[in-house]
């Protein structure tokens, strides 16, 4: 491993959102439910959040899913907002769809605002997302009593193709903690 790559790996490790620790408030509770804003996304190119069936007590595991994207996805920039009184960010993890060399960054820049960048580097091929493809997973703890919106900010979110041009997509968030 070259020195620059070690430096990059260290920076990435610092930037990865991993606060760790289990939620005390969620001890003994089932995983929090997640309800997408549009239960059945249409047939066009879409990036949507989808609740994962697997989750620790009180946690919401939410997949970031791309579907119907015509060209390979070289990178994704994602901005997600929520009410920090209701949800606590735990971590974000890129999926195995990305190459081992891909850059994985996620940080809660402000309380309740997450910035994510998962991207291949250089000429590395992107991720095929014509069918449903999980690009990564967000994990949050439901610390409040009310349901909480997970809002994607489309003006600061983007899929990018290998030629550097944005790929059109509709962005769909959802809610954590709605009644099942």
């Amino acid at each position: 491993m070259t020195a620059p790559r070690v430096l990059l790996a260290a920076s990435v490790a610092l930037a990865l959102g991993c606060s760790g620790g289990e939620s005390k408030s969620g001890a003994g509770a089932p995983p929090s439910s997640f309800t997408p804003d549009a239960p059945s996304p249409g047939g066009g190119p879409t990036v949507f959040l989808r609740g994962s069936a697997v989750g620790a007590a009180g946690r919401a595991r939410v997949d970031v899913v791309a579907r119907g994207i015509d060209r390979d996805v070289h990178g994704i920039a994602l901005r997600v907002r929520w009410d920090p009184a209701e949800l606590r960010f735990e971590r974000a993890q890129a999926s195995d769809a990305w190459s081992p060399r891909a850059l994985r960054l996620a940080r809660e820049g402000l309380p309740g605002e997450l910035v994510v960048a998962w991207t291949e580097e250089g000429d590395d091929p992107g991720v095929a997302a014509r069918g449903e493809t999980v690009l990564g997973t967000l994990e949050l703890t439901h610390v409040g009593a009310a349901a909480a919106e997970l809002e994607i900010r489309p003006e600061r979110s983007m899929l990018q193709g290998g030629d550097g041009r944005p790929l059109a997509a509709t962005w769909i968030g959802g809610r954590v903690g709605d009644p099942r």
């Binding site: 070289h74 850059l103 910035v115 960048a117 250089g122």
Partner: protein, 176 residues
């Protein structure tokens, strides 16, 4: 001769653009305000200069304003149409050849005052690229495939060191 013809003291101009040995460096910071932005320009010397700033508005329009910089720190209130909000403040790219202009926010390459995924994606594709002056036939046909903003350490190559620099500032957001 020029001073006699114009009747002006051109000493500062020659100090800045003719006899100076280093390219001036300017950092742009801003805070959006209703109908404008409070801009802070920080440079590394006291020589005067003028910059043309480009303000990108929420509707996609671009407003241009000239600002005179004197001392190391210059603060200016720049007004746009009432009701418009300023999303980004950058300098005219025509300055790039003579002035190193960067955002005051580390890792913010699009001058919106935040270091987020847009900045990372801009440069990730460029990893492996090196500056090649051969395609440039003249001053008016510069090499445009090399994104110099991604070359944070100015070594004419965009590599993991530059991405590490960008990653170090990643997630710096403007307070709501």
């Amino acid at each position: 001769v020029l001073e006699e013809a114009t009747g002006k003291d051109l000493g500062p101009f020659f100090d800045r653009w003719v006899t100076a040995k280093e390219r001036p460096s300017v950092r742009i910071g801003f805070t959006p305000t209703p109908g404008g932005a409070d801009v802070t320009l920080t440079k590394d010397d006291d020589l005067p200069m003028t910059l043309e700033l480009w303000l990108t508005l929420s509707g996609g329009e671009r407003v241009k304003r000239r600002v005179d910089l004197g001392s190391r720190v210059t603060r200016a209130r720049l007004d746009v149409d009432p009701g418009a909000s300023v999303l980004a403040v950058s300098a005219s790219p025509r300055h790039d050849a003579l002035v190193e202009v960067r955002s005051a926010v580390h890792g913010d390459l699009d001058f919106d005052g935040e270091a987020d995924g847009f900045d990372v994606l801009r440069c990730a594709r460029q990893v492996g690229a090196s500056y090649d002056p051969k395609p440039a036939a003249s001053l008016w046909e510069p090499e445009v495939s090399f994104d110099a903003r991604c070359d944070l350490n100015d070594d004419l190559t965009i590599d993991d060191q530059d991405l590490a620099e960008i990653a170090a500032g990643f997630g710096t957001l403007r307070a709501r």
